[in-house]
């Protein structure tokens, strides 16, 4: 899958409570959740983000709660993928399970700023910062996970198998 968009970059330990505060967990509608996505650390994200944009974070992105509403809110906001140095493990699983592409690539994170335009090839793991012209290589997913992603998420992969 080839993706391209403007970057919204955040720091280390972006937690699930800032991705989607618990007070909004009384719905599971991604579009409704998206209205409040990131609002505790970035009040403008929800209004500025365009379909296809790319979220970038530091280490331990998505730490905290198991709420699948967090990747759902980001997906619902229109963001096409997340690039981070590392992901918290439940957020990592949830993103794969709902079919939201995520890539771990510390070098790319250091070389990307908010507002840059970035292109991502999720099949090869190549991340290109079009604004700076620099290219980075994310580690590919192990075949086990690649299989789930290719089949369109966990539910579809179970149906298939």
């Amino acid at each position: 899958m080839k993706l391209k968009g403007n970057v919204f970059k955040y720091g280390d330990h972006v937690d699930t409570d800032v991705i989607i505060p618990a007070q909004y967990l009384n719905t599971a509608d991604p579009k409704e959740l998206a209205k409040h996505c990131m609002q505790d650390i970035d009040t403008t994200y929800a209004s500025k983000v365009q379909d296809g944009d790319i979220m970038v974070g530091g280490i331990n992105f998505g730490c905290g709660s198991s709420r699948e509403h967090a990747p759902l809110a980001i997906k619902g906001s229109g963001a096409s993928c997340i690039i981070a140095k590392t992901f918290a493990r439940i957020f990592f699983r949830n993103s794969i399970n709902i079919g939201l592409p995520i890539l771990e690539c510390p070098d790319a994170v250091d070389g990307i700023s908010t507002g840059d335009v970035v292109a991502v090839d999720t099949d090869t793991g190549v991340i290109k910062n079009i604004t700076t012209g620099k290219e980075y290589q994310a580690a590919p997913f192990p075949p086990f996970l690649q299989n789930i992603i290719e089949l369109g998420g966990l539910v579809k992969s179970i149906a298939k198998n």
Binding site: H13, D15, D17, V18, P21, A22, Q23, L25, N26, T27, A28, D40, I41, I59, N60, C63, G64, S65, S66, R67, E68, H69, L72, T86, A88, R89, I90, R93, N94, N97, I98, P142, F144, L145, G153, L154, V155, I158, A159
Partner: protein, 422 residues
């Protein structure tokens, strides 16, 4: 090949003689858990699979505990969705308001999780049951749906960090102080993707409630699970609470660990995590000028009877500082009743605390104690992220029940010893 305790449980549940770190496996589940926030999303995914029954009606637990008793119409709709699902699929372990409690206090108490089990729960604090010598870990709603349908879940076998405990706590220092100390030492991603395995003679001095508190917060260091070896205290607990026979696994003596930490429990002191991450720890004694507006005692981390006992001992014959809202959350109806029989509830009310029904409540900024801008709480809960208990400009300091109680009485962060001297 030598295996950790976690690896042995995983191997036994995927039909392999041995597993090694990094391997992907598909495991049989002994319990699948969800709550009123995560289950509605799981139900949607479950229905997409086009099946009309769960893999085992005894091995699914649904506990509406987050926004219950229903905090608003939207929460009521979510609970209704969960209730209908549980009833129509004959799920045996569905706990309605009146019988429910905070899920991670309730399941061990009901004997639904015991040593040797493999448990997944759509709640990050599912790692609590490692206190019983089980492998248990938090997952999301889609994993819950898949688990309910197939009785299986995929895992990447984790490597482990070992915490070798010696000695015993001094004063009123507790399991909460130990786990905050550990998170402060290794960081909120210090055990990312790994197991935290506890070992050493010091474990024998820990109560089961201490162990639940410690395993509960393994996720706050990024861990996949936290786990304790099974000893006489564990077996006694399981005997009292469950009819099932536990299976006891032990780490091999030559199992590999990424790191080993030796901790003398006797050297620990009251520890507090300052805003806005659980690893931002300081000694409570360094924070005596931090004034508080609210004290919260309870939750899946510290809502058990010995937690309430630690608080009640300090509230006995004392009053909370005027203006400090002090809210007590017993973890379950049984904890509530036990606290009543022991006289703790009377002590709390006479001291000026309010006692709530069991609920996750303010821990996640849900209801029953939300903070306004500029307000500050001391809390025995598990997270102090930005906006966790309410307004984005509010603050949460994480502490043990004894420190939260002492602080409620003085209106600023206070140790039990300082309180005695006042």
């Amino acid at each position: 090949m030598a295996m950790t305790m976690t690896q042995k449980i995983l191997a036994a549940h995927c039909g392999e003689k041995e597993v090694k770190a990094g391997q992907f496996i598909n495991c049989d589940l002994d319990m699948v858990l969800g709550n009123d926030i995560t289950t509605p999303v799981a139900i949607k995914e479950f229905e997409k699979m086009g099946i009309d029954k769960v893999f085992d009606t005894k091995k699914v637990s649904i506990v509406p505990d987050h926004f219950t008793p229903n905090k608003d119409i939207a929460a009521a709709e979510q609970c209704l969705c969960v209730r209908k699902f549980a009833h129509s699929l004959d799920i045996e372990n569905y706990f309605e308001v009146g019988e429910m409690g905070i899920e991670h206090v309730l399941l061990p108490e009901k004997g639904l999780v015991i040593a040797g089990d493999l448990i997944i729960g759509a709640d990050s604090h599912t790692c609590t049951y490692g206190a019983l010598g089980a492998f248990s870990t938090g997952i999301g709603s889609t994993d819950m749906a898949a688990g309910m349908a197939t009785g299986k879940a995929w895992f990447k076998v984790p490597s482990a960090i070992k915490f070798n405990l010696i000695g015993k706590f001094k004063k009123e220092v507790s399991g909460k102080d130990l786990i905050l100390h550990i998170i402060g030492m290794i960081g909120v991603d210090g055990a990312l993707y790994q197991s935290m395995e506890f070992a050493g003679e010091g474990i024998a001095t820990l109560t089961m409630d201490d162990r639940f508190t410690i395993a509960n917060m393994a996720i706050e260091a990024g861990a996949k699970n936290g786990i304790f070896p099974v000893d006489d205290k564990t077996l006694e607990y399981i005997k009292v609470h469950s009819d099932r026979t536990p299976v006891v696994y032990e780490a091999d003596s030559d199992a590999e660990y990424e790191k080993v930490y030796d901790i003398d429990l006797g050297t620990l002191d009251y520890t507090v995590a300052c805003p806005h991450l659980p690893d931002n720890t300081k000694l409570a004694s360094e924070l005596s000028d931090i004034v508080i507006d609210q004290s919260v005692i309870g939750s899946c981390t510290n809502g058990r009877i010995t937690d309430l006992e630690a608080a009640a001992k300090l509230f006995e014959g004392r009053k909370v500082k005027k203006g400090v809202r002090t809210i007590i959350f017993p973890g379950t109806q049984k904890v509530y009743l036990d606290a009543m029989e022991k006289g703790y509830l009377k002590t709390f009310v006479e001291a000026g605390c309010v006692v709530s029904a069991p609920t996750c409540g303010p821990c996640l900024g849900g209801h029953m104690g939300i903070l306004a801008a500029g307000e500050r709480a001391i809390s025995t809960t598990n997270r102090n992220f930005v906006g966790r208990m309410g307004h984005v400009d509010s603050e949460v300091y994480l502490a043990s029940p004894a420190v939260a109680a002492a602080s409620a009485i003085t209106g600023r962060i206070t140790t039990p010893e300082e309180l005695e001297q006042l």
